[in-house]
Symmetry: C3
């Protein structure tokens, strides 16, 4: 594709030679035939072999490079990536897959070798089920959703449209529910299910447990990174983003647009409002209101945490000062 064509598609301004572009690559990896993008102009101090650059408007053209100036380089790069890169996971239903009778298949469904689709399942149009993916009985998988290799969907699960469930993710395993009797743990049968909204992404090896009774819910548009644990009966809102290794205990309610950093932990039965930000590694042990930002374990409002942390960082000096004071005031205690 010519640089001038790309500039047109991106509604950008072209400067330099109208070269042929074969793809988009990272700044370090790109070669002469590639375009790359620069969101932060300070990056330009390092050299790149890229033949073409997507740059923010207002930046000087780079000598010897074809430049396309746009208002949002990242957004433009995403557009270019979509043009050049098309995922191809195969076509059709493999005769080495197992699809039980009484399964409803939409149009253009892909089921690869060694996938298993159990009885009573509905796979809507364009669903892709890759090798070793498992769809349990009576589950529904929405239009355009892809199950990567080894993704496991337990029975009675509902997965929305355009979801991406990455390799090894497990949706609908038993919640961790027992009651104690004579010092032993008696299993509470986990007979609920998981309901996942549209446009949800579930990272590799992430686990979302089925409800005990009722349902565990993941709201539309929510993005979940790898190795995340979401316990039974959680109700997660829309457009949230949870980073890697977040752990959410059972029966937690989370509002919309909530962000959680990596390794955050949430105690059971907690209620978290909308637009909440929880910093990485925080341990949430009490409810959080709409719009709050929290940090620490136990988690507290970020501003308070910063004040406390500032004092903690000076504790050895503060303790020294206290001992000096004590000496001047006289012996007041046994410390």
């Amino acid at each position: 594709m010519k640089a001038s064509q790309l500039a047109k598609i991106l509604s950008g301004e072209l400067a330099g030679e109208d070269i042929e572009i074969s793809g988009i690559k990272g700044y370090d990896e790109a070669e002469k035939e590639h375009i790359t993008f620069v969101a932060d102009p300070s990056l330009l101090s390092a050299p790149t072999d890229a033949g073409a650059l997507i740059l923010p408007k207002g930046v000087q053209p780079v000598e010897g490079k074809t430049c396309i100036f746009v208002s949002n380089p990242l957004e433009a790069a995403v557009k270019v990536a979509t043009l050049f890169y098309r995922e191809d996971w195969g076509t059709g239903v493999s005769d080495k897959a197992v699809v039980y009778p009484n399964v409803k298949l939409g149009k253009n469904v892909v089921i690869r070798e060694f996938a298993v689709v159990e009885s009573g399942v509905c796979l809507e149009d364009g669903v892709v089920v890759l090798p070793f993916a498992y769809v349990g009985r009576n589950s529904v998988v929405g239009e355009g959703t892809i199950l990567f290799p080894g993704a496991v969907v337990y029975p009675n699960t509902v997965v929305g449209k355009r979801c991406r469930i990455h390799a090894g993710a497990v949706v609908g395993a038993d919640g961790f529910g027992y009651y104690e009797k004579n010092g032993k743990r008696v299993k509470i049968p986990q007979i609920g299910r998981v309901v996942i909204g549209n446009d949800v992404e579930i990272g590799a090896n992430t686990c979302i447990d089925r409800a005990t009774f009722g349902k565990t819910v993941i709201g539309e548009g929510t993005k979940i990174d790898n190795l995340v644990q979401i316990g039974h009966n959680c109700k997660i809102g829309r457009d949230c983003a949870f980073a890697g290794q977040v752990g959410i205990s059972g029966s937690v309610k989370v509002g919309d647009r909530v962000l959680m950093g990596g390794q955050v932990g949430i105690a059971d039965h907690i209620s978290i409002g909308s637009d909440v930000k929880i910093a990485a590694k925080a341990g949430v042990m009490s409810d959080i209101k709409d719009g709050e930002a929290v940090i620490g374990a136990p988690a507290m409002p970020a501003a308070r945490w910063k004040r406390i942390q500032a004092v903690i960082n000076r504790l050895p000096e503060i303790y020294k000062l206290l001992k000096e004071l004590k000496k001047r005031v006289g012996d007041v205690g046994s410390n």
Copy 2:
């Protein structure tokens, strides 16, 4: 099933119409034909569409609903769930599974499509091996145990009776053992194994490493949630419960009935007594005696932690007070 029949099975008292009940559901999800249960009577302030309720004795009947009064509603609900809900993972040995010669199969063993059972394995009566589950050479799987899709059991493992090993769980992968030589890490071959007792539950994507030499042991009745890591050569006692994302390093000893909250971490070679409670996110760096409750990172007795935490929470004010004191006493230091 008639409500009166259910009441009889539960040794409960019936009030209201003797309706036909088709199943048990959560309070929010139940419809007219369902029974639900109420452990905490304050829940009754919210409405439910359930036709029937399991209630604790002594609570007032709810108008228009069939009520069954029992001494332990949760235990009764579990009984009802077991009546209505029977897991069905298929039957027989699929001709699309691979079962090597020299495998011992008990009665009523289920091996589903694309499972692999290696040479020298023994699967006792009623074992269920779901698709993509792998049983390595010379392993033994006890009566009634189920391996969910993608569960991997490395060679020479012993799994007890009535265990549930959830999807993606890995039992017996190499311990993380190396020695250093000239700045490189040389692998110590991990030639031990894992031995799991009866009635153990292992959550989705949980990993239990084989011993270097000798064995890693999980005691009878212990329940392990998702994404838990148990290192090589650990000896875990009976009837413990470990919540999601707990991480136990190598060669840790844990007694019986030990509870660990989510994301707890235990350093290697630590010894933990019986009846210990470790709060979520705690980092255990020294031994813990029988019956102790610990919290924090580094972990300490819960009572002490609370006292320290109370002071930490007031540190900005305390520091302010100290500065005031200093002013009054006179300049005593450079802080």
Copy 3:
């Protein structure tokens, strides 16, 4: 094998009867026909049934046991283990595997039942692909590398020689990259890849994400434990060792020979030097220079952390002292 033969191989000194040895076992598990090893002589106060012992030079022979004295018992034990224990994962390419046309296979490649090797892949000599392992399009797997059951390698990945990728590990899933538009998260296509050096070990259910553009790199000789998350575009150096459940966010740079304890978390875009040691559970929020040892969340130099922690542990007493002082000095504030 005779004890005398073993002693010769180990360049050790033999004492006691020249018995026949059938294998090496742990100190607790060994029987008469086995050899075990003792790195720490204090272990000898407990009895063992082992017929033979590998002991450090200078230690007294144990009565009734065959002893081999060496300078490094662990290293000797590893050598013995390698003599007696040979992994056997099968041979040849199973006709129940799926290997696409246009795949290059080296000599002695093993591909087991229900493995899938996609088009354009190159598997070098001696590669072992176990059941349910998946090698995505155009990936290269180096000589002697083994993919355990259920390991998933996404397209365009490069894996070095002699790597061990354990069960359920996922290499090359999408990085967690979105941009926000009108309160929704728009996916940034993850079109980069993962490049793994030689002699890397990747633990069970560990996830290493592909780069957005460009590549995620794991350096030669680096060992990664189970359930570790490594984000998109990370550049990890050589001969590092990361313990279980470590989480490394996107675009982190890590030098050589870096050690991370369990459950460490690293914020995105952090740069970590070589020979750094990061204690378990640390939360790294700023760059770390070569050779530093850090601990805590937020992480700080170990020496500083210890001083602060010592004061924290005495906070209740310190606060009491401060209140006494205040009383003596007179009322100075409202606290």
